[in-house]
């Protein structure tokens, strides 16, 4: 693995909320072309970890470093979410957060806007350049919708889409910001087995075709074991294990963490 290019490098990330340590010095790496997974029982701090990386929270301690190719390393600590997105990192949420009163197409287009450069006044005046740019945005947005299989629904309001489609739209919107690293927070939550299988394919396709590295949080172990190259396990804010799917399956600590959860339930 050493010769692979690391996109994301998190060192000793700690996040305190008052007296509660939600994430306790977690280190993690995501390399080029990799699908990494972050798993762990509910409340382990996975989403908090994502929130730190994407700039929603400023971590108490630790380093979040982004190593884009051909660009200098950037430290993400404390950057605003829109800056993080500009750096090339996009995410989706555990609970769907689409712009529900916008059309499917508009939802994707808004993601493109951070990659375009016409300012406020030019976009109001709508010069020729702006209109061409807008046309391009529409075209690329359609391509993304096709990729996730939603091109036929482009003019629907996103709130009218079925659940699985909304999830795919979230992925398309995140992709529209041209990330090189995509963070997916429980993309398969609430999906039926068939939808999960489609999602499985979609994630692999994004990873393979678009060369986007992926870090996902997921509870669906079948999905995780199927698609990820590298798995990190968290419990009570700490990283308790990492390794290949096979190593994780055989790790006694992981089994204990998960069985412990089952007896609770």
């Amino acid at each position: 693995m050493a010769e692979k290019h690391k996109f994301l490098e998190v060192k000793g990330l700690t996040m305190d909320f008052g007296g509660l340590r939600a994430v306790d010095s977690v280190s993690l790496e995501v390399c080029e072309g990799e699908i990494a997974a972050l798993i762990g029982p509910n409340g382990a701090g996975k989403t908090t970890f994502f929130n730190c990386v994407t700039g929603i929270y400023t971590p108490t301690q630790g380093e979040i470093l982004l190593h884009p190719k051909e660009l200098p390393t950037r430290r993400l600590n404390g950057l605003k979410p829109n800056k993080v997105t500009e750096m090339g990192l996009a995410r989706t949420f555990q609970n769907i957060r689409l712009f529900s009163d916008m059309t499917v197409l508009e939802n994707v287009m808004i993601g493109r806007h951070c990659r375009t450069h016409s300012g406020i006044f030019r976009s109001i005046l709508r010069g020729k350049g702006v209109r061409e740019e807008e046309q391009q945005i529409v075209e690329t947005s359609y391509q993304l919708l096709e990729k996730v299989g939603l091109a036929d629904f482009a003019t629907e309001f996103s709130k009218n889409l079925p659940y699985g489609a909304q999830r795919r739209l979230e992925i398309a919107r995140a992709m529209a910001t041209e990330p090189f690293l995509l963070l997916l927070d429980e993309p398969a939550a609430g999906m039926n087995p068939q939808e999960t299988a489609e999602l499985d394919q979609l994630i692999c396709k994004i990873s393979a075709e678009d060369r986007i590295a992926i870090l996902l949080i997921e509870h669906d172990m079948k999905l995780v074991m199927n698609i990820s190259n590298h798995i990190y396990v968290m419990e009570y804010g700490k990283k308790i294990a990492e390794g290949s799917p096979q190593q994780i399956k055989d790790n006694p600590k992981v089994i204990e963490a998960y069985l412990g959860e089952e007896t609770d339930a």
């Binding site: 829109n82 997105t85 712009f99 529900s100 808004i110 806007h113």
Partner: protein
């Protein structure tokens, strides 16, 4: 019948001005859930700037509509700058604070701006030149609708269409709608939310300034306090239509204008405010979210 039409058009004129100012309230509320109490003062400042610029223009020999246009443009630019600054110094530092804090800050800014104009200008009413000329072609219908009303109607109508196009069609409009629906998510798809909020204030202030110039020119006088009543009325219009909703602000403004106009015309002008606010109470009992408002679910 002529009387009815006159009242109808009078109400329409009045209502469209309310709508113009109400848009500023509703846009800001829609995005950051803040009642910008200083919005009325922006309107007042717009009127004052127009008065000063119109005076200077007249000295330099401009006449007629050109004065109106120069004064209006100056008022819009000046008021927008005020709106931008207002947001930057009074509201942005309180982003993330409990909702009451920016509200208090807004009331503070309102009082500050009133007193600033009181000290910097004058406590007296100042005569405002009627910048809108009487058009000859309007003479046959002058007993029903005058030139100023016509200019007000056309200006507000065009402004609202431009605003709608801006919000529906442009990139910044899309960013505004996204910010309104989910601010954090908008950030995560790369929208510079702070800039969108600034822009909202700038647009709202520009609309208020246009309203200020038109009304001051129509009524013929300004003082530091006119922003208060205009602000209360426009706020009423925004609530009536459903605060946060842009078509709601327009509808609320028109309904309010007509109510006042008909109440004043058929009953007594002493009671126009009673009817206006009585209507507000009635609508809020029947439809608490306003005419076109959506009852917002609290996001967790």
């Amino acid at each position: 019948m002529d009387y009815f039409i006159e009242l109808f058009l009078g109400g329409l004129t009045r209502g469209s001005i309310y709508a113009l100012i109400a848009l500023g309230y509703t846009m800001v509320y829609g995005i950051i859930q803040l009642i910008n109490f200083a919005h009325g003062e922006i309107y007042m400042i717009g009127a004052f700037v127009a008065l000063i610029v119109a005076g200077v223009c007249t000295i330099y020999g401009f006449t007629g509509v050109s004065v109106l246009i120069i004064a209006a443009v100056a008022a819009v630019i000046y008021a927008s700058a005020y709106g931008y600054t207002l947001e930057k110094i009074a509201y942005r530092p309180l982003r993330g604070a409990p909702r009451l804090s920016p509200l208090i800050s807004a009331i503070g800014m309102s009082i500050f701006l009133q007193n600033y104009v009181l000290l910097a200008q004058t406590p007296d009413f100042l005569p405002f030149p009627s910048l809108i000329p009487d058009f000859e072609f309007m003479e046959p219908v002058a007993h029903i609708i005058g030139s100023p009303e016509l200019v007000i109607l056309i200006t507000t109508f065009v402004t609202m269409i431009l605003l709608t196009l801006l919000i529906k069609k442009t990139k910044v409009g899309k960013a505004m709608r996204a910010t309104q629906q989910d601010m954090n998510m908008a950030r995560l798809v790369g929208v510079n939310v702070d800039r969108v909020i600034s822009l909202t204030f700038v647009i709202g202030s520009a609309l208020a300034a246009i309203g200020g110039v038109l009304v001051a020119s129509y009524i013929g006088q300004v003082n530091f306090y006119i922003g208060f009543l205009a602000g209360v009325k426009a706020f009423t219009a925004a609530v009536l239509g459903g605060i946060g909703s842009i078509p709601g602000a327009v509808l609320g403004g028109l309904v309010l204008g007509w109510t006042e106009s008909f109440a004043a015309g058929y009953i007594s002008s002493d009671y126009e405010d009673v009817f206006a606010f009585g209507l507000l109470v009635l609508i809020l009992i029947l439809r608490p979210a306003g005419l076109l408002g959506k009852s917002r679910k609290q996001k967790v």
